[in-house]
């Protein structure tokens, strides 16, 4: 017996030697790169602390009596990269904004607008002046929500103090565009704090849907004194510590590319009706990992593509599909030597068999696009599409497509085999598959060579912003429930026109429509503008997307919408 111990010891010693050798070398490496042992220890301590916290959380979840002390687990597919609403517009982040920030208005438990941080809303007769009276509510650091938050929040988007993704989202506000282009002073902005709790918006033109517009993150309030205390705009939203929330939750911690922990904001006005205490938002890029985590009870909500339907159904979960109000399309860089040719773009649109795409590749309830603005968007009394009808004339017809292509080739003086370009797409299963299908379709029907480049959303947006692509398989979701959200980007040539598309005719028709106060006339006008856009094929609409999702049995009250935020857990409860 004694001998046996000795032997075991000998073995243990020899293996300790190995690990000692390895630990030794790691220390060397650490010092070489300048990270002190102390820091490593600190990191280790943090990890331990977090693990401990996780354990207690788990324990808490398991022993939770009722729903008050509960944790919701959701996943997003890419890191938020910033919590500053000015620069962050990724679809993934919209969920977080939906629960951490509240605007003057917000969504109810459907697609209808309800009061947010403002409890009384007044407007003049022609919808050009809106006044909001704020509730008693607080920022997550205890500061009260004030009218100045909106004056500051919107001014900073326009006066050049920070990088802005879509400044045009505020151009309905008086002088906003002039301020952004430097023609007016920021003090002339049409947002005024009448008193501490009253904020007034003066608009350039009638906006009957202004309440809808306000739900979007480009209209969030920002706490001026907090931004000053962290050393200015550039630091805002770069970490959990430099982010402040006025919504039902705040960002408690953020580990890049790993997890964002949201906790209940104790100063939020409606906190008693928020059931879930904490939300863990995991960054999981891989859809299959997300689905596996969901099946194993590690996630409460999961979005997935059609090929995983059977797996999830087999596991006994109820699966739903919702119309997520997105429109998928090919966006061209008209600076590309082949794609600058209108006939080639028209040929591409005509060559695509959208029926097969929807029925064979997507298989998730997505529908064939007959225009750019998706089916789910409101028009006047009915939906936009009901009123406008189909605006896409270049529908599937291979012979026609070949003729159009020949026309384009003749103009350029080249042959079909010369044409080659790259389709850039997001690296999700859906877009990878659709891009693959497009590549095949264009090669077969037109004989043109197409390459595919799939990228994650961060690099995608970098490339998109710098026009570093030939064609981009894009998908645009409704930031607010109005067609201007889809068509507005193509109007002007300066700011965020994604296709570098310039058309005087489109600009004229679009502008005329926007300045119309009558809702039906306005929508019809926008329909005319859409027709011009699609005649030019600045973009090629493909399909209106639907999305499969599943929710774990313990969570109730999860809301999916056709407008941002697509996922809303404001009303969710956890039933153990």
């Amino acid at each position: 017996m004694k001998k046996l111990w000795k032997r075991a010891l000998a073995l243990a010693v020899s293996s300790t030697l190995l690990s000692a050798a390895l630990t030794g070398c790691t220390t060397t490496a650490a010092t070489e790169t300048g990270s002190s042992a102390e820091k490593t220890e600190q990191a280790a301590a943090e990890t331990t602390a977090q693990t401990a916290a996780e354990t207690t959380e788990q324990a808490a979840t398991e022993t939770a009596a009722g729903t008050s002390n509960s944790v919701l687990n959701v996943a997003i597919s890419s890191d938020p990269s910033s919590f500053d609403p000015a620069i962050s517009l990724g679809g993934d982040l919209m969920y977080i904004f939906g629960v951490t920030e509240e605007s003057l208005t917000r969504f109810g438990d459907d697609q209808k607008i309800v009061d947010g941080l403002a409890d009384t809303i007044e407007h003049n007769e022609d919808y050009t002046q809106w006044t909001f009276h704020l509730r008693e509510s607080g920022w997550s650091n205890g500061d009260p929500v004030t009218a100045d938050d909106w004056v500051y929040g919107i001014t900073r988007l326009l006066d050049g103090s920070t990088e802005v993704a879509y400044p045009d989202f505020n151009y309905e506000i008086k002088n906003a565009r002039a301020i952004f282009t430097g023609e007016a002073d920021p003090s002339e902005l049409g947002v005024t704090a009448i008193d501490e709790k009253t904020v007034q918006f003066d608009l350039e033109y009638p906006v009957p849907y202004f309440e809808k517009l306000l739900t979007h993150c480009q209209h969030f309030g920002i706490n001026r004194s907090f931004v000053e205390s962290i050393g200015g705009d550039a630091n805002y939203g770069t970490s959990a510590e430099t982010t402040l929330s006025n919504g039902p939750y705040y960002v408690d911690s953020w580990e890049t590319d790993n997890i964002v922990v949201l906790k209940k904001n104790p100063y939020y006005w409606n906190k008693d009706n928020i059931a879930i205490e904490q939300i863990n938002v995991y960054v999981i890029p891989d859809e299959s990992t997300q689905v596996n985590m969901f099946l194993n009870g590690e996630l409460d909500i999961v979005d997935f593509s059609a090929q995983r339907l059977a797996t999830i159904e087999k596991a006994g979960f109820e699966v739903s599909s919702y119309n997520n109000g997105r429109s998928a399309y090919l966006l061209y860089n008209v600076a590309n030597e082949y794609l600058s040719n209108k006939y080639i773009r028209q040929a591409i649109s005509t060559a695509i068999d959208r029926e097969s795409l929807v029925a064979g590749v997507l298989k998730n309830g997505s529908t064939v696009a007959d225009g750019f603005v998706p089916v789910s968007l409101s028009g006047a009394d009915s939906t936009f599409r009901d009123l406008v009808g189909s605006t896409l004339t270049y529908t599937y017809n291979v012979d026609e497509a070949k003729k159009l292509l020949q026309k384009g080739l003749d103009e350029l003086g080249i042959s079909a085999s010369d044409v080659h370009f790259t389709i850039m797409a997001k690296n999700t299963d859906e877009f990878t598959a659709v891009a693959g299908a497009l590549q095949q379709i264009l090669q077969e029907n037109l004989g043109i060579k197409v390459e595919i480049e799939t990228l994650d959303s961060t690099s995608l947006s970098t490339k998109r912003k710098s026009y570093d692509y030939d064609a981009y398989l894009a998908s645009w979701g409704a930031d607010f429930d109005d067609a201007t959200n889809f068509l507005g980007s193509y109007e002007h040539d300066a700011d965020a026109n994604p296709a570098l598309y310039i058309s005087e005719e489109f600009n004229k028709v679009y502008k005329a429509a926007v300045y119309t106060a009558d809702q039906t006339e306005r929508i019809k006008g926008l329909g005319e503008a859409e027709k011009i856009l699609l005649e030019d094929q600045a973009i090629t609409p493909l399909y209106y997307t639907a999305q499969y999702y599943a929710v774990s049995d313990r969570v109730k009250g999860v809301i999916r919408r056709a407008v941002v935020p697509y996922l809303d857990t404001y009303f969710a409860v956890i039933e153990e």
């Binding site: 073995l11 790169t33 990191a43 596996n292 026009y467």
Partner: protein, 322 residues
């Protein structure tokens, strides 16, 4: 011995230098800069400022020298896709996780591999030997991402759901991904260790068989020393030497092997960042992490070599023979 160690150190330094140079010039073969290509939004002044910030406005040789100097100061630059973080920050945060995973896998692989190897050699051509060859075959012929996917589904999903259904509990066998508590580490450690187990088992087995046939073992046995003592004191100890060298070399392969494992199991280690930076075309991060990994691998191999040299007199005497 001093000469040998000095020689190894010089080679290590030259290697790191070669890697840095190679990385730098390869990365600069990519046409354009991350900011250039036809961006109308950025004013020429802003572009110039950005490029100056990254040192892109200077001649290539000067850029190279600047880069070299920065690396010597532990400054790997700023990531493009995480603009708020320097590459060094990311390394400091993520490397401990990778190291944790790597060491777990290595310790697991070394223990299991040695035991299986010894067992296989002692029970030559019997059941245990067959079993260990099966393990070795799986480790060699199944790529880590295939094995990882299988593990996730087998232990994370299928067996878990079977337990849940059969015993009506909410007990969860293994989590699918992420890196929280011990339970989270088991599947990734196993998957990562598997490839190395195969190598170590095979090596240990052949090394043991080699030692068993030596005369001094026969001598020891004929002196009447018990079988067990011969096995552990003479055979295993002597057979371990080649394994130690291989384990040293394995540090590198375990590190790079963990790239895929980390993305598969969503572990926030350096490998996940590396893979992301590659797919995101975040060149500064790719460059920084490539150099960091190389320094790490070269340094760890160097340390193992030196330790080996100190332990094993044969290396010391024969100098550079390896």
């Amino acid at each position: 011995m001093k000469k040998y160690i000095l020689q190894r150190i010089i080679i290590a330094i030259v290697t790191v230098f070669v890697v840095i140079t190679l990385t730098f010039f390869l990365m600069h073969m990519i046409p354009g800069t991350p900011f250039s290509t036809g961006n109308d939004n950025i004013t020429p002044e802003a572009l110039a400022a950005l490029e100056a910030n990254y040192g892109l406005d200077k001649p290539l040789v000067e850029q190279y020298l600047i880069y070299l100097k920065n690396i010597l100061h532990g400054n790997f630059g700023t990531s493009i896709s995480f603009p708020n973080q320097s590459v060094t920050d990311i390394i400091k945060k993520a490397f401990p996780v990778s190291l944790d995973l790597g060491l777990r896998a290595l310790v697991f692989a070394v223990f299991t591999g040695i035991l299986l190897g010894v067992g296989a050699a002692l029970k030559h051509n019997k059941g245990l030997d067959r079993f260990s060859s099966v393990i070795a075959i799986i480790g060699i012929s199944v790529p880590s991402f295939v094995l990882g996917t299988l593990m996730q589904c087998l232990f994370g999903l299928w067996i878990s759901s079977w337990i849940k259904e059969t015993f009506h509990t909410s007990f969860q066998l293994f989590p699918i991904s992420r890196w929280e508590s011990f339970r989270y580490t088991i599947l990734p450690t196993f998957t990562l260790g598997m490839g190395s187990i195969a190598t170590i088992t095979r090596l240990m087995r052949s090394s043991m068989l080699d030692v068993i046939g030596q005369d001094y073992i026969k001598t020891a046995k004929s002196k009447g020393i018990s079988n067990a003592a011969v096995t552990w004191k003479h055979e295993v100890r002597n057979a371990l030497m080649p394994v130690v060298t291989v384990v040293g070399r394995m540090v590198g392969s375990i590190c790079t092997g963990s790239f895929v494992i980390e993305s598969l199991f969503a572990i926030p280690g350096l490998g996940k960042y590396y893979v992301n930076s590659v797919s995101a075309r975040d060149y500064t991060l790719t460059m920084g992490l490539t150099i960091f990994y190389s320094i790490f691998v070269v340094a760890s191999t160097l340390v193992v070599d030196i330790i080996y040299c100190v332990i094993d007199p044969r290396v010391r005497l024969s100098g550079s023979r390896r």
